[in-house]
């Protein structure tokens, strides 16, 4: 038996205190999403390194989604701006490697955002499926 890849493989960067509990909520409430979605939780979305994003694409991920803290970030009010800078830099590096910049996406996900997370995943999967 081998793994059936029905939907694009997405790497999600979440944050320990804000978006990861929201993603946990989706599971807790059994709101299903694609099993091709993998999550790495970090303290804050402003701490994601563009090289990690590049590494994910180089290894075979189809998309990277940043489940950002947004304005709810408990570390810094500049979190959205800093995370946006990370995406801009990552997209610059992606262009250099001929990776479509649309393969990276960001949205603020709060600690109870179970449905919004699943909706984002569904929409992003569709976008990625169209790109490939």
């Amino acid at each position: 038996m081998t793994e059936i890849r029905k939907s694009p493989k997405i790497l999600v960067f979440s944050s320990d205190k804000i978006s990861d509990p929201g993603i946990d909520q989706a599971g807790l409430r059994k709101i299903h999403y694609s099993p091709s979605i993998y999550v790495i939780s970090l303290p804050c979305s402003s701490g994601i390194k563009p090289r990690w994003i590049l590494h994910a694409f180089e290894k075979g991920f189809d998309g990277v989604f940043i489940a950002a803290d947004g304005h709810e970030c408990s570390y810094t009010p500049h979190c959205p701006e800093l995370t946006n800078n990370i995406i801009t830099e990552a997209q610059r590096l992606m262009k250099e490697k001929n990776i479509n910049p649309k393969r990276i996406r960001m949205a603020a996900i709060c600690s109870v955002c179970a449905e919004p997370f699943v909706n984002h995943m569904s929409n992003f999967s569709k976008i990625l499926a169209e790109l490939s």
Binding site: M1, T2, E3, I4, K6, K9, L11, K17, I18, D20, P21, I23, D24, A26, G27, L28, K30, I31, H32, Y33, P35, S36, Y38, V39, I40, S41, L42, P43, C44, S46, G47, I48, K49, P50, R51, W52, H55, A56, K59, G60, F61, H71, E72, C73, S74, Y75, T76, P77, H78, C79, L82, N85, I86, E89, S111
Partner: protein
């Protein structure tokens, strides 16, 4: 920066969670698969990883097999991260050489509709965990000595009550208040709900207790000049007194911010405020109620009717205050009832958008409705219009309760029900302490439900309405919670902080200052080492957010536990190809009829319950009596065992009173 030493002897534990994971994920195959993973010396699947029996076995495994890293694939780390870190510590393994993999909330439950695919995903997740633990480092918690004293900023009821709580627990408290008198907003209140005690009496009572405690030093007309230091040792410079100011420096282990909020002041001409005579705020109305004795009079004229306009300045879809102030509905209705009680026959009209009198406060709404107060409902887009009438004030409203009928009410007084807004000086406090402020400009806690009184600044706590609008009872509850949290930290001589902080690779660092510029906490500064200027991190101040890491042009900063090797190793683990054996037909059914449970994984009480029902089905009261255990406890465990398919109902007893339970699949 030291290169992490790779771990070569790793133990992997995959939890069934009683079926929460193993019902959807092929735990047995995963265990087999992980046995052959590089660096893994032991791989086990366990019924409940968190059970005492398994924890003891893990300690034994770590010690006997000389494991230098462990991976537990179970529930969300939010539940059991510390449980297994403690297991590692007890076994003599560094707790940071343990990685928890979430195969329940983010796998078995999230993909319960696709069990086979869930197994593939779980394989990737566990492999990622193994890769991460390979690169994990043995980190030591940061130990710092702490002062057994607390600075409380704000001597309102929240600050006063928490000061007393801390004093009762033996801590020394410095309570500072900006105003000449303590008590905050409550000091000026008349009777308060639900006790009926006057605000001033409440404050006096607390003040008398503070004086008696001998542990609390109260400074009034005091302001904070400067705060430095960090958890365990904050140094605060305080200026006291207006006429002959004195400056003193306090050293405290923790700080509680209880600066409160202030009532919203309507804009000029908002509902006729300051332009139509007789339009006042709720705060002004409360003062009027207190100052009038025999008859309610405003500007020398008797008041026979009062109109309350709710949500003034609040819940603005376009304005600054988008939030509901949640206490003002109750405050207005309470004031209306006080008015009826004190002055008898004064008519009250309430113009509201929604009424929020939650919990016990519903009693007030019911009382007001029964007393003859009349309620009109309006929408934000059609607010009431206030105009100067011939002898009084005219209020025009499109009333939703009468199918949007245009109504006109005449009233002697209009009371604008204003909510709470952040204090104008709150940003100064926020800047001095570096506490994050939300969009609503109230102070932000780490999490409103999970960590409601803590801020991201270690040692700085929040209490009362500086976090958002609260009534007296809610304010005191939150500040008492903060007091309990603070005492738990400062009661020890030393405290330990997680070593998740930024670390500089001095060889790579070129001191471009970018890291220092993005750091919200001023944790990064320059030092000279071996004739080279490089960045350095104040570990007690660094919050480990990582904002400094992506901006470094030479990749000279990493956050401990979130290194490049660790994160990229996880990505490699996710993507690795996996082969699983197809489940043979009937295998699943067989598993359901004979769950492979090992007795040693169960809590002792489960074993006792299983013994009781082994021969003959029993009711919960019969099991409780036989085991001499409380009914509630037995009920809880029987229900859990039922959920995990260990027990199942076996009909009802002869009296038709209680269910009988038996071992599942035992005829």
């Amino acid at each position: 920066m030291e290169e992490p030493t790779e771990k070569k002897r790793i133990g992997v534990y995959i939890c069934h969670c009683g079926g929460n994971i193993s019902d959807y994920v092929d735990v047995g195959q995963l265990r087999e698969m992980m046995e052959s993973e590089e660096n893994v010396v032991i791989s086990k699947d366990v019924m409940f990883a968190c059970a005492d029996s398994n924890q003891k076995q893990m300690v034994k495994d770590i010690q006997e097999m000389k494991l230098d890293g462990i991976v537990v694939a179970s529930c969300s780390p939010k539940l059991h991260l510390h449980t297994f870190r403690n297991v590692a510590s007890r076994a003599g393994l560094n707790p940071y050489n343990y990685v928890q993999v979430n195969v329940r909330e983010q796998c078995s439950w999230a993909h319960s509709d696709q069990p086979e695919q869930a197994s593939y995903k779980a394989a990737g997740l566990i492999r990622a965990g193994i890769h991460r633990v390979v690169y994990s480092e043995a980190l030591e918690n940061i130990r710092i000595s702490t002062q057994k004293s607390v600075l409380i900023i704000g001597a309102g009821v929240a600050g006063m009550k928490s000061a007393l709580d801390l004093a009762h627990m033996g801590d020394e408290v410095y309570l500072i208040e900006k105003e000449p008198q303590p008590g905050g907003l409550v000091a000026g209140k008349g009777k308060v709900f639900p006790t009926g005690e006057k605000g001033s009496e409440l404050v006096e009572r607390l003040l008398a207790e503070i004086k008696k405690s001998g542990k609390i030093k109260l400074f009034t007309s005091a302001s904070i000049e400067k705060i430095s230091g960090s958890i365990g040792n904050f140094r605060s410079t305080i200026k006291t007194g207006d006429e002959n100011p004195e400056t003193l420096t306090l050293t405290t282990g923790a700080i509680m911010v209880a600066t409160g909020a202030e009532p919203y002041t309507p804009a000029e001409n908002e509902y006729g405020y300051h332009t139509v005579p007789g339009v006042i705020t709720l705060t002004e109305f409360d003062e009027l109620l207190k100052s009038c004795s025999a008859e309610l009079k405003y500007a020398g004229k008797p008041v026979k009717s009062v109109s309350f306009i709710y949500c003034t300045g609040m819940r603005q879809s376009q304005g600054e205050h988008k939030y509901c102030s949640r206490i003002c509905c109750t405050a207005a209705i309470h004031s209306s009832l006080v008015m009826h009680e004190k002055f008898g026959d004064v008519r009250a009209f309430h113009f509201y958008r929604d009424i929020r009198t939650y919990g016990k406060q519903e009693i007030l709404f019911e009382k007001s409705s029964k007393s003859g107060d009349i309620y009109f409902m309006f929408q934000e887009k059609d607010p009431p219009v206030i105009e100067q009438g011939k002898n009084n004030i005219r209020i025009r409203v499109k009333d939703l309760l009468t199918r949007k009928t245009d109504l006109e009410i005449e009233s002697d007084l209009v009371v604008l029900v204003t909510g709470m807004v952040p204090r104008r000086d709150s940003e100064t406090v926020a800047q001095k302490l570096k506490i994050p402020v939300g969009n609503d400009r109230f102070f932000n806690e780490i999490h409103p439900k999970l960590r409601p009184v803590e801020t991201v600044i270690d040692g700085v706590f929040l209490g009362g309405s500086c976090q958002g609008p609260r009534n007296i009872s809610e304010s005191v509850q939150s500040s008492s919670s903060a007091a309990a949290k603070i005492h738990a930290i400062i009661r020890k001589d030393t405290l330990e902080l997680e070593p998740i902080v930024a670390r500089i690779n001095e060889e790579e660092c070129t001191w471009c200052e970018k890291c220092a510029k993005v750091c919200e906490y001023d944790a990064i500064f320059q030092i000279e080492t071996n004739g080279k200027i490089v960045a350095s991190v104040n570990e007690a101040v660094c919050k480990g957010c990582g904002a400094c890491t992506p901006v470094c042009p030479t990749n000279a900063i990493n956050i401990a536990l979130y290194t490049d090797e660790g994160i990229e190793g996880m990505i490699d683990g996710f993507i690795q190809q996996v082969q699983l054996k197809a489940a043979a037909k009937g295998e699943k059914a067989e598993e359901e009829t004979a769950p492979s449970v090992e007795m040693k994984d169960f809590p002792q009480i489960w074993k006792s319950i299983m013994e009781e029902v082994r021969e003959k089905p029993q009711t919960i009261p019969a099991i409780a009596a036989a085991l001499s255990q409380p009914m509630e406890l037995v009920t809880y465990h029987v229900m859990t065992m039922n959920r995990y398919f260990i027990l199942e109902p076996a009909g009802i007893d002869d009296n038709d009173e209680y269910y009988l339970y038996k071992l599942k699949n035992k005829a």
